[in-house]
């Protein structure tokens, strides 16, 4: 089938490219645009390493047709923080020792961000965090330090919210 022009908004920037209709968002990100922060593994939404945010909600980019992502705000790990200005979740993952091989980490951080953003005033329990990230497999860490990092990040976010209205 023929390629057609696709316009995607990724991390706030517009990308235009010719795409085959069956290409997934993951394929377009990695193999057409060259954004490699979004990882590739099972391609069946079982491992979660390909997680991106679609209008702020975590989704598996391996099963999302790129054409279906048109008109939505796509956020990848490259859109979250920079070395000088890390996202608080990225900072917490480093501090808590939640990163080992790191291949699941971009997806894990975005899964966590989507989850925390669902309910900004709430510090979730460890069990709630575990439920939220269960769709992203990590083989290295046994998850404990990942739960630590998300928990710490949620606490800091709440503390910041309490501080800001006063300021």
């Amino acid at each position: 089938m023929s390629r057609r022009l696709l316009e995607l908004t990724i991390n706030g920037e517009t990308h235009q490219l010719l795409a085959e209709p069956h290409w997934t968002l993951l394929h377009v990100l990695r193999n057409q645009i060259g954004m490699m922060g979004t990882k590739e593994n099972c391609l069946e939404a079982e491992c979660g390493v390909c997680t991106v945010l679609l209008d702020g909600r975590a989704v598996n980019s391996c099963l999302l047709l790129a054409g279906q992502a048109e008109g939505h705000q796509i956020t990848t790990i490259e859109g979250l923080g920079t070395p000088e200005n890390l996202d608080p979740l990225q900072q917490a993952f480093i501090e808590c020792g939640a990163v080992q091989c790191g291949y699941c980490i971009p997806g894990m951080i975005l899964t966590a961000k989507s989850f925390l953003d669902e309910n900004p005033g709430h510090v979730p329990s460890r069990q709630e965090i575990r439920e939220a990230v269960a769709g992203t497999l990590c083989r290295c860490t046994g998850y404990g330090k990942i739960v630590d990092a998300i928990s710490v990040s949620a606490e800091r976010r709440l503390a910041k919210q309490h501080k800001e209205p006063a300021a």
Binding site: M1, H22, A45, L54, V59, N60, L63, F115, A134, G135
Partner: protein, 290 residues
């Protein structure tokens, strides 16, 4: 694998496209079932019609005098978190929250899951236990069909060519009712059910006698079924362990499970009776606690 992707704006446009393109076309919403099928070579559509954006295809949960209406594009994650489903309709978030990971539940639609008609679908038994009705839009207009009649077998439904499942409706539960959904798999998340059970139980005002029960069982037959014999037997029985155990046994008699890599038929059979009994017990406790 290769196909054309179409992105119509309304149901009428989508239905028109489907009529023009014929059997080589498939609708796509969240895509979490269809894209896997395409990748595994189990579906080979030449045209894929994206219905995830149709202006008149709902993705919201609406409460009416007559109960609830869930747009077919409603996502599981929204059901999990919906405040109206945290009490008597608890089986809805319980079933919705065990479909894949959060990433799938953020995009997969309940309509797609019904159309996919997997025997192991988690949400279907929950809706069966609510006697859900489906609103189906076709070229000629809208029709309704009960979910129970709609699913015919693995991957097979009563959806006619070009039709779009538009909404799922169910009536409110009578007083002194509660629901529960239970599932078993090898892990505690990311599981395709070995067995799943949804139940809705109504007791009398004293809370001691069963007035009515609706019990649906998934993953142990070509399609999820209502445990009719168990439901019939429960009416009028005391709401106690013996009655619930009997219901479990009757529900299991109706099962026709297969053995596969996930579990043996024997184990599935056993789990049906355990889970049905437990789901009913959970309902009873919830009624008592309400």
């Amino acid at each position: 694998m290769s196909f054309d992707l179409h992105r119509p704006n309304t149901m009428a446009e989508a239905i028109g496209l489907a009529a023009r393109l014929g059997p080589a076309a498939r609708y796509i919403a969240g895509g979490t079932d269809l894209v896997v099928q395409i990748n595994r070579g189990r579906a080979t559509p030449q045209h894929v019609i994206d219905i995830s954006h149709l202006a008149d295809l709902r993705h919201d949960i609406v409460q009416t005098a007559d109960g609830f209406s869930l747009g077919a594009l409603t996502r599981y994650r929204n059901i999990e978190r919906h405040p109206a489903f945290q009490d008597a309709l608890k089986l809805l978030p319980e079933a919705a929250s065990v479909v894949g990971g959060v990433q799938v539940r953020n995009i997969a639609s309940i309509g797609g899951n019904i159309i996919n008609a997997s025997p192991a679908a988690d949400f279907v038994p929950a809706l069966l236990a609510l006697d859900a009705e489906l609103d189906i839009q076709g070229a000629a207009g809208r029709r309704s069909e009960s979910l129970r009649d709609f699913i015919l077998g693995p991957g097979k439904t009563g959806l006619q060519a070009g039709e779009i499942l538009a909404a799922v409706r169910f009536k409110p539960l009578p007083a002194h009712s509660a629901t529960a959904f239970l599932k078993e798999g090898r892990r505690k998340a990311m599981e395709i059910s070995v067995v799943c059970v949804a139940a809705s139980l109504t007791l009398d005002a004293s809370g001691k006698t069963c007035l009515a029960a609706r019990i649906a069982v998934g993953a142990v037959a070509p399609k999820a079924y209502r445990a009719a014999a168990a439901e019939a037997a429960l009416a009028g029985l005391p709401a106690d362990t013996a009655s619930f155990r009997l219901a479990g046994q009757l529900a299991a008699e109706q099962a026709a499970p297969i053995s596969d890599v996930r579990a043996s038929a024997e184990h599935r059979h056993h789990l049906v009776s355990v889970l049905v009994q437990r789901a009913l017990e959970t309902c009873r406790q919830r009624i008592a606690g309400a």
